[in-house]
């Protein structure tokens, strides 16, 4: 009954052991267009060119100051563009014996210096604006910055474990990004010791109890600093803050990521240290169980609710979920009358209002009218009901709960893009 009520499959697979191990060194990493909705790149490198870690490989055509850098030293393997001159993937083959770039002494004591450094060093895309969930403009000033130090699901890495041994770097990172705003920096964390203690007046710890969706930055922002089209805040993940801190302290670019390996097909669910954009096939080669009934493997970058089936680790993802893929169905498996009963539909099923829907959204928003507005793409009503406070991950649970089977995340992105163009 509980399962029916929540509408979400309860994951009975083992929770990842919160212990960090080195992941297999991957030879390929990629910068993925799926992480950068609506971005058109201007390439700064060519296929076959040698790049060093931290070297800019492309920048945003609309904002040339926002550069994207290579997380490893190596050779540009391939560049694929998607529709409308968007980036599909830029793959870099790493060459481990290449000399490491020298640490550069970086002064980050004023807002201007921090801004210029983060832009030039490729850390700017770590920030996402709310509303719209996009990379902020180089000259934008947020009203507040939200540091997300909460796991968004039980299978995600525990931030307190990940930050162990990096607390000084994390504090240095917090102080650096605090210069970017005149407002507060909310460090949103699970109950426990304040990991932002003693960093200054404007850097505040905020505590969110363990509940579904309390790990999402959308929930934090909704509670502490609701946004609309005239009020904008930024959010950033804790691993990026620690990386910025390391840059401040040592001048070294650190693009390593600690991710949780989870799901029914993982041999040993635990935390792995790898690199942003890592090739998932390489990373999990030794980590997968054979499927029951020989079903193929489905690799998900991110969580089950909001991740995507992918071959590369997403820029903002901290989890890899290994699932059974559906067994391929023969065309003859359904015949006659059964094909009529189970016709594959490309349209969402009807929305039947159930009590579970009300619990799947953590916002003070009338759920059913909101979902109806999204389903018909009515940006005006969706805006009135508060869609500007949300991004895709906030409505992921709704998509899994609703009878319609519609992807409300994609519908929301469509509406947000429309509103962003008008703004």
């Amino acid at each position: 009954m509980l399962i029916v009520l929540s509408g979400l499959k309860i994951d009975h697979t083992r929770l990842p052991e919160q212990r960090v191990e080195e992941g297999v060194a991957v030879t390929q990493v990629a910068l993925i267009g799926a992480d950068l909705p609506g971005l058109r790149p201007k390439l700064l490198c060519e296929q076959g060119e040698r790049v060093t870690r931290g070297q800019a490989v492309f920048h945003d055509r609309a904002n040339p100051d926002v550069v994207f850098v290579s997380p490893v030293s190596g050779v540009v393997d391939s560049i694929t563009l998607g529709p409308r001159r968007s980036l599909s993937a830029l793959v870099i083959r790493s060459e481990p014996d290449q000399p490491e770039p020298d640490p550069t002494a970086i002064a980050m004591t004023s807002a201007k210096e921090v801004r210029e450094t983060l832009l030039a060093m490729g850390f700017w895309p770590a920030f996402l604006t709310r509303p719209y969930g996009r990379i902020p403009a180089p000259d934008a000033v947020p009203e507040a910055i939200f540091v997300t130090v909460t796991p968004d699901n039980p299978h995600a890495p525990d931030p307190r474990v990940v930050l162990e041994g990096q607390r000084d770097a994390f504090a240095a990172g917090l102080k650096a990004i605090a210069l970017l705003t005149s407002g507060k920096v909310h460090v949103c964390q699970t109950p426990g010791a304040d990991i932002a203690a003693g960093c200054g007046d404007r850097i505040r710890g905020a505590f969110f109890p363990d509940a579904p969706s309390s790990g999402l930055s959308g929930t934090h922002i909704h509670r502490l600093h609701p946004v609309d089209k005239d009020r904008s805040v930024w959010s950033i993940g804790y691993q990026d803050v620690a990386a910025i801190g390391k840059l401040v302290e040592t001048g070294v670019h650190d693009f390593s990521r600690i991710v949780a390996l989870a799901g029914p097909r993982a041999v040993q669910p635990r935390l792995l240290r790898t690199v942003a954009g890592a090739n998932l096939q390489e990373l999990i080669r030794e980590e997968t169980l054979p499927g029951s009934h020989g079903s193929p493997l489905c690799i998900v970058s991110g969580s089950v609710a909001s991740g995507r089936q992918a071959s590369w680790l997403g820029r903002y993802h901290q989890q890899i979920t290994l699932l059974d893929d559906a067994a391929p169905q023969g065309r003859d498996s359904k015949r006659g009358l059964m094909t009529f009963f189970q016709r594959h539909s490309s349209q969402p099923a009807p929305l039947i209002p159930t009590a579970a829907l009300e619990q799947a959204l953590a916002f003070d928003v009338p759920v059913v009218p909101f979902l109806r507005a999204l389903s018909v793409g009515d940006a005006e009503i969706a805006d009135r009901l508060g869609c500007l406070e949300m991004v895709e991950e906030d409505v992921a649970a709704l998509s899994l709960t609703c009878t319609s089977g519609a992807d409300y995340g994609r519908m929301l992105r469509q509406v947000l893009d429309e509103l962003a163009e008008d703004a």
Binding site: L323, A355, T403
Partner: protein, 272 residues
């Protein structure tokens, strides 16, 4: 809108309600009342049930073929609710006409289950009572009321009826019963109204869809039941529940509109 459904892998992670599962849950909830009606009314009731079910199935098949969709069995619930509410003495052709009008104009022309604005069963029974004057609906017995309760628990547990809706309609009915007939008539009110309240006024699609709206919708339905009630004594006439459900459903979008305006105003105040 096409191509907006979830990725295959996330589709497989859903274990909650799908339209087919909702239909099955409603059919299970209706099983006990149907059994009671069969026991009470005998063989004639089987004819009513079959006529209504067959009519529904034919229309559903026709619409699903035209629209190129897979077959949904939701109209079977319409047939069951209809069969429980109408007496066994109604001629078969009247049942065919009423059920056809009810499912087609109550549900199928809007796109089927989940898209309509009134409860299909209420529409069918309403058509029957309006078109063939003199038709008296079957009054609910104590056993029928008892048989409704397991279904009520199932639907409430699964979140398929809104408790806000049910609480507010019950409160209005009890207060009205208390004022009119004193506390002795309350049981009679509950027995005669419970089936219609659960399966027609509780319909999640036809009712209001915002939480403040559900309170208002339930209260409105309760008041309408009291207004339409023509039965002497404390008992509630079944037709009163049917017409209250139909009229309240027509007001549900207005109620929701006002509730949304209220919520939006509250948001604005909070944002400052």
């Amino acid at each position: 809108m096409t191509g907006w459904i979830l990725d295959p892998f996330r589709m497989r992670q859903r274990t909650g309600w799908t339209p087919a599962r909702v239909t099955i849950a409603q059919l299970i909830a209706l099983a006990a009342p149907v059994a009671v009606s069969l026991a009470e009314r005998g063989a004639a009731q089987i004819a009513v049930l079959l006529t209504a079910a067959l009519t529904c199935l034919i229309w559903e098949l026709a619409f699903d073929l035209i629209r190129g969709r897979s077959l949904s069995l939701h109209t079977a619930t319409v047939a069951l609710i209809f069969a429980i509410l109408v007496p066994a003495a109604v001629p078969a052709w009247q049942i065919v006409v009423a059920v056809s009008l009810g499912v087609v104009f109550g549900e199928l022309v809007f796109g089927g289950r989940g898209y309509g604005i009134v409860s299909g069963a209420a529409a069918a029974v309403g058509f029957l009572v309006f078109s063939f004057t003199g038709t008296e609906l079957a009054a609910s017995s104590e056993i029928m009321a008892l048989a409704t309760l397991p279904g009520l628990v199932l639907l409430l547990g699964g979140g398929l009826v809104s408790w806000r809706n049910l609480v507010s309609v019950t409160v209005v009915l009890l207060i009205a019963g208390l004022v009119q007939n004193g506390s002795s008539g309350l049981l009679s009110v509950a027995v005669t109204a419970v089936f219609g309240v659960v399966f027609m006024i509780g319909d999640p699609v036809a009712g209001a869809s915002t939480n403040p709206g559900r309170w208002v919708f339930g209260a409105l339905a309760g008041v309408l039941i009291v207004l339409f009630d023509t039965a002497a004594g404390p008992a509630v006439a079944p037709a009163a529940v049917v017409f209250a459900s139909l009229l309240a459903s027509l007001f549900a979008p207005l109620v929701d509109h006002m509730a949304v305006a209220l919520i939006v105003r509250r948001r604005r105040a909070r944002h400052g």
